[in-house]
Symmetry: C2
């Protein structure tokens, strides 16, 4: 059902061992990744995802990825997939073994939890990230804003949010909004969409960019600027966006119920989906 293809074109069994224990991803979480939504055989925003993969790789001093080869891998994973109409395509590029990188694409079904949250929305808890955004420029070795496989903290933050009765986390620096552990934060206020800038030390969101593009085309305003927790509480709607979760409503923030944004959600979702019709 799942589909696995390595960068050299080799198809492989995702239920069998495929990675050596001395691969630097196993030894050190040393690599980068992208997750891409594929619907009805079409990969969404493949170009921006590959561009971001190359940017993350550069931040980690990995050999420049051969984007044509990654496009072929992506297509091969799609061609081999025998699941439903939707697939999550994860591209993984690691420092590998003895200086030879490992790369593969894995096609999997969308997790049921994610599908449910798309419909029902999520409760989120804000959690301190601890890294001053100014370090993004001055301390590049901290890899702030790179999509790396060293995501242990991101996963721990989701578990902490769940302990607090929420579904997901939003990282903050003091009162300033950053991003979710695996998503971008977008708010709607007076028919303008807002998201924090990458200079805050966050990942530029591919889905966030697509939603902004679609909204602009329909006459919405869009602004990339710093947001505070209070801005989320005062918004008409708060969303987490990512490739697989699409535009997911935030219905509760730190235990406080947010305004019903079902109507805005439907409108933005329709605009976004029209991009791929």
């Amino acid at each position: 059902m799942r589909s696995l293809v390595f960068l050299d074109g080799r198809t492989a069994d995702p239920d069998a061992p495929q990675i050596r224990v001395d691969d630097q991803v196993v030894q050190r979480g040393d690599g980068v990744f992208e997750t891409i939504l594929v619907r009805h055989g079409k990969a969404r925003e493949l170009g921006p995802h590959l561009k971001r993969l190359a940017r993350s790789a550069e931040m980690l001093d990995l050999p420049e990825p051969d984007l044509a080869a990654w496009e072929r891998v992506s297509q091969a994973v799609i061609d081999n997939y025998r699941g439903g109409p939707e697939m999550a395509l994860k591209l993984v590029y690691t420092r590998g073994v003895d200086g030879v990188p490992t790369g593969f694409g894995l096609g999997s079904p969308i997790e049921e939890k994610v599908v449910r949250q798309r419909a029902e929305g999520v409760a989120v808890a804000t959690l301190e990230r601890g890294l001053d955004p100014s370090l993004t420029e001055t301390a590049p070795w901290l890899l702030i804003g790179a999509k790396t496989l060293s995501y242990g903290v991101n996963m721990a933050a989701v578990r902490e949010a769940q302990r607090r009765g929420a579904d997901d986390a939003v990282f903050v620096f003091g009162e300033q909004i950053l991003e979710g552990p695996t998503s971008s934060v977008v708010i709607a206020k007076d028919r303008t969409l807002y998201t924090p800038p990458p200079s805050m030390g966050i990942l530029p969101g591919t889905t966030q960019a697509a939603v902004f593009r679609a909204a602009e085309r329909a006459g919405w305003g869009t602004k990339v600027e710093q947001l505070r927790v209070a801005d989320l509480l005062a918004a008409d709607a708060v969303f987490l966006t990512s490739s697989v979760r699409l535009i997911t409503r935030v219905h509760t923030l730190n235990g406080q119920q947010l305004p019903d944004a079902a109507e805005l959600h439907r409108e933005l979702n329709a605009l976004y989906e029209a991009e791929y019709a």
Copy 2:
């Protein structure tokens, strides 16, 4: 030559693929590890290493490791090893696949670079870590002080240090000394050893503890207290300690040559080695 044993007792080929692509260590760097020195078949500080593995696992909400099973794995790796008299034993414990953790022990030769640095010492560069030590207690989801497999930043810091003409890095928070990416910082001054406290958001060092124990027995003073960059420049000797690098002298700090500490190094090394004679 190398030796690989899984937590269930299965021996395996370290040159063959052994880990699934959907193991959470490959997907997210989600797991913990320890590296232990084995000399002439004897694992040094196995108890403290296993205790720290359990502590890291708890910080990551991993199932409590079965330390008796990890002891058996360690012994099996040692028994199967066909290299020289020294071996690095790496224990890796990941969140695994579908909630079933993956655990293995891998025995490898000590890297030549490390052996050379033990003899010749190292040049180090201080690099900002960016995480306020006070977050260690208040933001446990940041996993500060856990030995996790999400070590991408640690590896990036070593590369940055090398770009600056050094061999290794020492993380700082402002002027305050933290630790190396894979080592503890120990200084000697007036026959007292100093190292920063774990409350600074650093890993409690097993080798640092052994060196302190050995030095105390020989009449040295030992202090665990905050150190600043200026304290390193004013010290009689600066060392990086870790299981595989033992006590390695720092001969150069941010391009500035430090006093010749060869004599102190010999003395402390002899005291430390006597612990295992």
